[in-house]
Symmetry: C2
Subunit: 213 residues, 2 copies
């Protein structure tokens, strides 16, 4: 990306470029179609080979509609990274809601994430390419995700469900486990039941892996 402008300064509400937010339900549907098409385009071709015309063709909208909501290819990519972050959060959060404990909630979150990543394998390529195309978005994605995990761990520690010496280190450890388990068991190979993966990690979080003596 050419500039050091902050995400907040260039992406307005609901994912469009600043000042280009949709004002109608129809506009929001068009914006959604453009973001979904951008996920396909960049997921399959990568940022450099991907094009605005490829996105509008996939979305079935006119080129002008793209510029109604975005200023540039850089801007739609940046919006897409934030959109994928939001989509993961919105898919995973309800799965945790009825969990009986924080450990159960973390299991449910991982199982939901594995299932999400199987349906949206392009998320890996897009987030990973952001490290090179838009480092600020890459960093924001992981910093925000770790912060969210850290906050729910702290709340659970406050309720006495998990240890009270929990820190940001644990949040990053859990995020790292989840990201790599998704790479292995969603993007590379879907042969293992997501609940089996979540069970193994839940047991690790509940008891550790040391042998009981």
């Amino acid at each position: 990306m050419a500039s050091g402008r902050g995400i907040a300064a260039t992406i307005g509400g609901e994912g469009a470029s600043a000042g280009k937010e949709p004002r109608t339900a129809r506009g929001r549907r068009t914006l959604r179609a453009i973001l979904d098409a951008a996920a396909e385009e960049f997921g399959q071709k990568g940022f450099h080979e991907g094009s605005i015309s490829g996105i509008t063709r996939r979305a079935g909208v006119a080129l002008g509609s793209f510029y109604t909501y975005f200023d540039s290819k850089d801007d739609v990519f940046r919006a897409l990274v934030r959109d994928m972050s939001d989509q993961v959060r919105e898919f995973v959060a309800p799965a945790m809601r009825d969990a009986a404990s924080q450990i159960s909630a973390e299991k449910a979150a991982l199982s939901a994430f594995i299932r999400f990543a199987r349906e949206h394998k392009e998320i890996y390529r897009i987030i990973d390419e952001a490290e090179f195309v838009d480092p600020e978005s890459f960093r924001a994605h992981y910093a925000t995700t770790a912060d969210r995990i850290g906050k729910r761990l702290s709340a659970a520690a406050g309720r006495g469900e998990i240890r009270d010496d929990i820190s940001e280190i644990h949040a990053w450890a859990i995020m790292g486990m989840n990201v790599f388990l998704g790479l292995r068991y969603s993007v590379w190979d879907e042969g293992v039941d997501p609940d089996e993966i979540a069970e193994a990690v839940g047991s690790l979080l509940a008891h550790g892996i040391a042998a009981k003596r």
Copy 2:
């Protein structure tokens, strides 16, 4: 990379292209200097902006020396990914050797990896860029690393030090934790003592994070 040739087919012994392995101590030193220079060049500029002439300039060797050991920029990049994998393993393995238990060994491995990554921050950019430049090397790096972790966990389970229901899932979980803790606490910010990070993860592996009731 243009072809689907296997790593073993294009990279010979000691990191050079097949058939171009150094035969003398001096040759091995030159090859080492080229690989170190390639890590700097690709780490700073990325694969596409990086050049063979940039590598030879940094290494202080003639362009001809490059072609004594490598066929192309693709080949030196592929060799570099494997070399970084090997360097991590060689740096981390001795740290685990005298550990009193497998949990202590995993702590020592993480602490060593954090210290390695602080000295070689370019490893993240290089391995991550391999996902796009040379997917086969990217995959081999993580598959090999997870396999190594899985083998040492299995051996420890056999000795009764860790639970006997350990699987590949645990190996990927531990690798993911370590990779993301290195990103956060080596590449982004060195403010936390590696031993503190290892202590938190060692305690997670030993006991889990559930509150004791």
